[in-house]
Symmetry: C2
Subunit: 311 residues, 2 copies
């Protein structure tokens, strides 16, 4: 029996062309969990998840209703998305339990992630979130709230927020105990609610934490054997989308670091996953998998997908 | 050391004339937690809470943004409110920990409450929720979603939803373990997300569970010694608001049941609290307190407030 942190990508719960209703999210969650049902049954598993589409929708609702309802800060919207997605995952998991007979209760833990108030990301907000705005609206929002915004050609302005580096998952201790007690903990939703340490205790900050980097920190904090990042590609590819495209299979930490130095990977999508996988193995983890949703089980059993192991 | 479930009323986090922003909710949560800090330190405590104003705001945002963002069902909005309120309570608690030195981690558990699909409340939706609608809008909503609505004189139409009886708190087991491990669990937010048992597992239903009744069920499920319902009155009163008004102090289960039979109490506010208190003591609990927020500590120490004890 291994201890595994499985990070579900945003697409596990909602895809671009999906209708954004709740039933669709439950259906997607069922597809995702079906493919890892055996892993959940046979191992100590924590499920973590992204929240991109969901928190985007919540921010948009907050924005549109602004005149009538005081909007919540970004970190609180993230906390709300943890509730929403928990409910989708619970409903999917309960249905899978009935069909598979898995004897393990899921528990969703509201999760906070510690970041440093001195993180340089706070001086350089880079992560676009929420709706697109017209020139006029963008100017007003900047005036009113001091938001930094970036213009995306042909689409309009978008708010950008800092994406600081996760240091510690504050709920790692309780998640570890729950694993030992045969629970299936669900946590670190959307990378966790970002908090900084202040003289009056931990305080939420308006930022977005990369959920893969946060999942790697959790995996280290709970002493997991493996980190499994499930996404929409079956492998990490060198020279992706070119004629020289080449899938990366089982690979040592050192080799993967060298590939990372000598190749370009897309910052928005695969790069944080590679970094998360490397961080985990560098911090003592045995195996980090990056593969697509449907291959979760196969990855564990046959080392399928991109598998980074410690040297 | 006693095991105590403390149920915070909606007014613990937001009052009628408060600005509805997040900082105000944190400030209110600090006031509430300050008054029970010693109880948290000296006893095994679970905190439960209402979500009236918060889920009302979320529903209103969903409604206003309906054309652009697919609204979430009521149970999912309830789950979202658990995330929102957790963040407020955490921030307040962390600040109180710094000032008092309490050595106990809070953990918030997304909580589901089992109700019966056959509960007659489903045939008789009675709990008004969300915004007020005009005649025209109400007609459309009824047509489009089949919502039952009621007209409230001078204010317009309001959606009504079933308020079924809570049977079991699905997360009671994990909350009990957390208590034993010296955590401060936060749960049963808004009465818990209502679920029914179906052939394909537990499924969320659009309903609202009374948070005091649900807290009483939790208190029974975790084998609590006491249930403490903190609200905006220092005692339950017989003939409240009349010249014969009389505070009810320490009273046996039997006496309180007899008072309940022979007096009228307001259904919307104090009655469910009395019923919750009676249920808990009838099911083996030692003491149920009903008093105002600021007297939580005094209630425990001096049996202040309305205190129902087993015969």
């Amino acid at each position: 029996m291994n201890r595994v942190v499985i990070a579900l990508g945003g697409n596990a719960l909602l895809r671009k062309n999906d209708r954004q209703d709740f039933i669709t999210q439950v259906r997607r969650a069922k597809e995702a969990l079906s493919s890892i049902a055996d892993v959940i049954n046979d191992h100590q598993v924590v499920i973590t998840h992204g929240n991109g589409p969901q928190v985007g929708n919540i921010l948009l609702q907050n924005e549109i209703a602004r005149e009538q309802v005081v909007p919540m800060p970004l970190d609180v919207c993230g906390a709300m998305s943890q509730g929403l997605i928990s409910q989708a995952i619970f409903q999917a998991y309960e249905s899978i339990r009935v069909s598979t007979g898995i004897d393990k209760d899921a528990v969703s833990i509201f999760t906070r992630t510690l970041v440093s108030a001195d993180d340089e990301a706070f001086d350089n907000p880079s992560k676009p979130i929420g709706p697109f705005y017209t020139d006029e609206k963008a100017r007003k929002l900047k005036e009113q709230f001091g938001w930094p915004l970036v213009k995306i050609t042909g689409k309009g302005w978008r708010r950008v927020v800092p994406s600081p580096t996760p240091i510690e998952i504050l709920e790692a201790g309780v998640i570890k105990s729950l694993l030992a007690d045969n629970y299936l903990p669900i946590g670190v939703g959307g990378g966790g609610v970002p908090v900084i340490k202040t003289e009056s205790g931990y305080r939420g900050v308006e930022a977005v934490i990369d959920k893969d980097l946060a999942s790697a920190v959790l995996a280290t904090n709970v002493g997991a054997d493996s980190l499994m990042i499930l996404t929409d590609v079956d492998h990490v590819y060198k020279s992706f989308g070119t004629d020289d495209e080449e899938a990366i299979g089982k690979i040592s930490l050192g080799e993967m670091k060298s590939i990372l130095e000598n190749n370009r990977f897309e910052n928005g999508s695969i790069l944080p996953k590679i970094r998360a996988a490397l961080n985990f193995v560098e911090n003592g983890g045995k195996r980090a998998y990056i593969t697509s949703l449907e291959y979760g089980k196969r990855a564990m059993e046959e080392d399928y997908g991109t598998v980074i192991y410690s040297d």
